[in-house]
């Protein structure tokens, strides 16, 4: 792993720091005398943040304007590479991040129609994740910010997932397609695609991915409290490991989702772990074991396991627990809004189940479009925008934090 600052053969330096386009937007800049990101006396409205994400599989960069409009969103997926190994290979991941980071950032700027001079700040994921992988993004972002004199902020990967809900789906295709998520109520929206806004706090957020099943109470920007988490396997891990046992490809989640759509969950009833009364924690390892036992039983009886039914049963069992606990958390905190986030939020069964329950309980559920659920840098740019707006700045010593917890904010200070 090299920690040296990368060279930047990007656009030539220019004294222009911001876009002097006069587009007043009273929503954003309430601070008298200027913008909290750009500084006093600067009243330009379009603030463009470059987001960089390298915490796990994906090398990603994006430019987001005003924390909402995606100008570009580039993801160099490493999944093809990992498929051969059935998982994330850290050494390969770091090397690939190093190879990808510069072209990915260049592509993000070019698709946004900007040079480096068009940027107003840089946001980078600094944890949690693999240290080697995170360091590629963090080093790059530090170098870039320092070279250009741009404000820099580190972002928690989990928090960033939640902020995917703030993004306008600028490139939504055909109004939701066959995605069951289209049935989810979205308040006040154009095309049923309204995004979350700062006025809608507080809420409960459910972040579900390969490494997480976390329930978070969000009181406002930067005020997050962990309500529950998995005690053993994450939601995505339950899918990935069961898929591995069934001999399906990696990543297992989308494959389970695809097969489940034509299976019958009632044919393979699997256990649901709700844990003690009132607990908002999760446990999915028993489910994985139940799938293994079921497969083993089929093998012993010499019959082919009905994979579609098994996937449907597995998906239903995971979804039931997630829905139940998320709505229980919303009741406990007396909030009427639930945000979904993380790669598993792309699961169609999950989206449909949340939509149905939301209608029944009169709760608003926000789900980002599928491509913003999986790891991307637009969500990082968005979360970074709101952190920069609050005056949060990375220290020069910013470093990757593999086990970064929600609510902890090392290597940052608040600027007045």
């Amino acid at each position: 792993m090299t920690r040296s600052r990368p060279s930047l053969p990007l656009a030539p330096p220019s004294p222009r720091l911001i876009q002097w386009v006069w587009r007043p937007d009273p929503r954003l800049w309430r601070v008298p005398g200027g913008s909290p990101i750009l500084g006093r006396g600067v009243t330009a409205t379009a603030v463009r943040i470059l987001g960089i994400e390298t915490s796990c599989d994906e090398t990603a960069a994006a430019v987001v304007e005003d924390g909402r409009r995606i100008l570009s969103d580039v993801v160099a997926s490493q999944t093809d590479l990992h498929a051969r190994y059935g998982g994330v290979v850290p050494e390969l991941a770091s090397r690939r991040h190093l190879e990808c980071i510069l072209p990915v950032v260049q592509e993000a700027l070019s698709r946004a129609g900007l040079g480096l001079a068009g940027l107003d700040g840089v946001a980078v994921t600094y944890g949690p994740g693999l240290v080697g992988a995170l360091l590629v993004g963090v080093s790059f972002a530090k170098g870039l910010a320092e070279a250009r004199g741009l404000p820099l902020v580190g972002v928690n990967h989990l928090e960033a997932h939640i902020y995917a809900n703030f993004l306008e789906d600028a490139r939504a295709e055909g109004g939701g397609s066959a995605d069951a998520g289209a049935a989810v109520p979205r308040p006040g929206g154009r095309d049923g695609g309204a995004c979350f806004s700062s006025d809608a706090w507080p809420c409960v957020a459910l972040v579900v991915s390969g490494g997480h099943a976390d329930l978070v109470y969000v009181e406002g920007h930067g005020r997050l409290e962990l309500l529950g988490r998995t005690r053993d396997d994450a939601a995505g891990e339950a899918f990935d490991k069961s898929a591995r046992a069934m001999g399906l490809g990696y990543p297992g989640g989308p494959e389970v989702d695809r097969l489940a759509a034509r299976g019958d969950a009632s044919q393979v009833p699997l256990p649901r772990a709700f844990l003690e009364e009132g607990s908002l924690d999760f446990s999915f390892s028993g489910l994985k074991t139940a799938v293994l036992v079921y497969l083993d039983r089929c093998r012993r009886r010499g019959r082919e396991p009905p994979l579609a039914d098994l996937c449907a049963g597995l998906q239903q069992a995971v979804v039931d627990v997630l829905v139940e606990k998320a709505f229980a958390a919303a009741r406990a905190r007396r909030v009427r809004r639930i945000l979904l986030a993380g790669g598993v939020a792309a699961n169609r069964g999950l989206r449909a189940a949340f939509g149905q329950r939301a209608r029944r309980e009169g709760v608003e559920v926000f789900i980002p479009p599928a491509r913003l659920c999986t790891d991307n840098a637009a969500m990082v740019a968005c979360a970074g925008y709101y952190r920069l707006e609050r005056g949060v700045r990375a220290e020069a010593s910013l470093d990757a934090v593999a086990d970064l917890g929600l609510g902890s904010d090392p290597y940052h200070r608040l600027e007045g």
Binding site: V88, G129, D233, R244, A402
Partner: protein, 160 residues
């Protein structure tokens, strides 16, 4: 060197965890426990017991996705998972030496995938699923050196 080995049957995940707790209470700085067995055999379950025996409070979720989780009990404890690693060379990139030869206790799930890199003296624990008994597991401990031999003698004493 392979020394003392013994095997026992745990009837349930709760008992497997309790077994781990007893083992955890015996571990000291620099000890490494290698956990081996197929998916769903109870490696994480046993590891959670060990961590609890080391005085780690709170949940200790599976490290499969993040590869390493660090905990603080009466000693530092490092919970590794080689499930997603292709082989020993991947572990090297994680800077494993700092953990394996550091002041804490190390647990390694799927240790058979990185066996070459394990320090010579470690405790090897194999978990097996038992046919037609969903909750039960066979757990086999083997000492691979004098230090782990002493731990195992003590464990055998408090388990019988």
């Amino acid at each position: 060197m392979i020394g003392l080995a013994f095997s026992l049957e745990s009837p349930s995940p709760e008992r497997t965890q309790d077994l781990g707790r007893r083992l955890g209470s015996l571990l000291g700085p620099g000890d490494l426990v290698a956990l081996v067995g197929p998916l769903g055999a109870g490696k994480t379950c046993l590891a959670q017991g060990v961590l609890s025996g080391l005085g780690v409070a709170g949940p200790a979720p599976s490290p499969s996705f993040v590869l390493i989780r660090e905990h603080r009990g009466r000693l530092p404890a490092y919970h590794f998972d080689a499930f997603r690693l292709e082989g020993p060379q991947d572990l090297q990139d994680l800077g494993y030496e700092e953990y394996f030869y550091g002041p804490g206790v190390v647990l390694v799930e799927w240790a058979d995938r990185v066996a070459e890199l394990l320090p010579p003296d470690h405790l090897w624990v194999e978990l097996e699923l038992l046919p037609e008994r969903e909750r039960a597991r066979r757990v086999t401990f083997s000492a691979r050196g004098p230090r782990s031999q002493r731990i195992l003698e003590e464990l055998k004493r408090i388990c019988w």
